[in-house]
Amino acid sequence: MSVEAREARQPWILLSPALTAVGLLLFVPLIFIVVYSFWLRTASGADQVGFFLDNWQEALTDRFYRDILLSTLRIAAITTLVCALMGYPAAYFIARSRGNKAILLLLLMLPFWISYIIRTMSWINILGVSGALNTALMWTGLISEPIQMLYNEPTVILGLVHFLLPFMILNVYVSLDGIDQTLEEAATSLGANRWEAFLQVTLPLSLPGLAAGGLLCFVLGAGTYITPLVLGGPSDAMFANLVFEAIITQLNWPLGSALSLMLLAVLGLLVAIYNRYLGMAQLMKGLG
């Protein structure tokens, strides 16, 4: 074999284990659940192989699923908005501060390393009946009985914001950090005040980072079922909870497949729109 041919083959040899893994453990299983979603769970509990539209009909027309899908999207949208409002100024501060930028960034990265389940349940210590807030309020005499503040939609959103905020800050930071600061100075020297300079120069240039952070917050938020289970009440189920119920509790795998694919389609559409207009490169910057 010639040197060139060997050179050309080498990268494929290196790539093949990873590509095989992704193919066999992601793409083939995804195709498999497409097929599975047309099978039928019979009363006896066995799956009947065939081409039945029942699961799709149920998933697409049942009001119950539609309502939960809509409320899931609403919760994800509010979470994303809150993350943007809280995260943008913080990212701006890190990008523009002089001095301890490394420490500030390290502090920002730390929550990524703190377990999601710990961060979620930590709010029970704060907002629970005998948590920090109730204890403090009772101590000051503002209330005489503890208030139940947990297990509702706002606490689900709170938990999601706490989980997703670092993704937003990091993405906005990456794009702010790449903006030439002299552009803003040029705008002010040409007569704009600082606020105008920010609105007309810095903000538009940082939009790709904001969009990347927003996409991550939305997609990760809309796909969660742990946060509603820990911080939500019985009526705060999100779409992923339905998937979990169908697969793990009811063992109705064909229906669970259809519901999973619905979630994938909705969130995949968002990723595709993002990719069409902004491309994946920005997202990779924030992740890497």
Binding site: V22, H162, G268
Partner: protein
């Protein structure tokens, strides 16, 4: 500079401070309460005590969960890092036709919602005869951590100069010698970073794990989740503290080691 003194800047700084407090306060409370002497996992604190850590160490279920998490994390890390490093080498070191598309394919497991990945893998492997088991957990964790390893390793690999290897080759080393004596030592910080990343993500994972784990097997996160079902006990806070120390301490240690290695190799 004016920005450092203006009112707006002060507001931004105050806001950022509040955001940091928001991020860390609940976690700090977990650590604080884990030393609470009271037998309820809540306020008021009645005194400082290590009793909950002692109880943790004597709790069979938690020790088993810990063992499962560690073994799973280590195996995941080894497999994922091996696959990820090889793929990253190919993508960074060679001109592969369609490299962008391949990159996207390889990070696809994190573009798909984890719940969907979990369902697809569970149903497909079950169809193949691999039921809920440790093996299924391992497959799941590998595919879920692989993209993170590839992103981290690729980012670091770009910084290694090809010329050093070419010099070794031209001085008579064969490709295998060059890889083990030049490339691998230079890559070591990237490899370690990827391995640590994979371990921590595996150690933390709950979303997929709840789908894949067989009945009776718990990892630390699913154990905490199961314990939450009853009520929040000081033991959960203590376990949380142990996890925080592990998952924050390990990467910090990793960063320190990587920096050492990088300094020594003059990178």
């Amino acid at each position: 500079m004016r920005s450092a003194s203006g009112l707006g800047w002060h507001l931004i700084r105050g806001w950022a401070l509040l955001v940091y407090v928001f991020m860390f306060l609940p976690v700090a409370v977990v650590v604080l309460l884990s030393f609470n002497a009271s037998q309820f996992g809540s306020f008021p604190m009645t005194g400082l005590s290590f009793r909950w850590f002692v109880e943790l160490a004597e709790n069979e279920a938690i020790l088993r969960a810990f063992e499962t998490s560690i073994v799973l994390g280590l195996l995941t890390s080894i497999i994922s890092t091996t696959l990820g490093v090889l793929a990253s080498l190919a993508l960074v070191r060679y001109r592969v036709p369609g490299a962008n598309a391949i990159s996207t394919l390889l990070i696809a497991p994190i573009l798909v919602p984890e719940v969907v990945l979990a369902v697809a893998l569970l149903l497909f492997l079950n169809f193949l005869g691999i039921h809920k088991s440790f093996a299924l957990l391992l497959f799941g964790h590998v595919i879920f951590t692989l993209p993170f390893v590839i992103l981290v390793v690729q980012a670091r690999l770009v910084g290694i100069k090809r010329e050093v290897e070419e010099a070794a080759l031209s001085l008579g080393a064969n490709p295998v010698q060059t890889f083990f004596q030049i490339t691998l030592p230079l890559m070591l910080p990237a490899v370690l970073a990827g391995a640590l990343f994979a371990f921590t993500i595996s150690f933390d994972d709950i979303t997929g794990t709840l789908f894949w784990k067989p009945g009776g097997v718990e990892t630390i996160p699913t154990q905490i989740f199961a314990m939450l079902r009853n009520s929040i006990s000081p033991e959960i806070n203590a376990l949380g503290t142990v996890m925080i120390v592990m998952t924050v301490g390990l990467p910090l240690l990793g960063v320190a080691v990587a920096r050492r290695l990088a300094q020594r190799s003059g990178g």
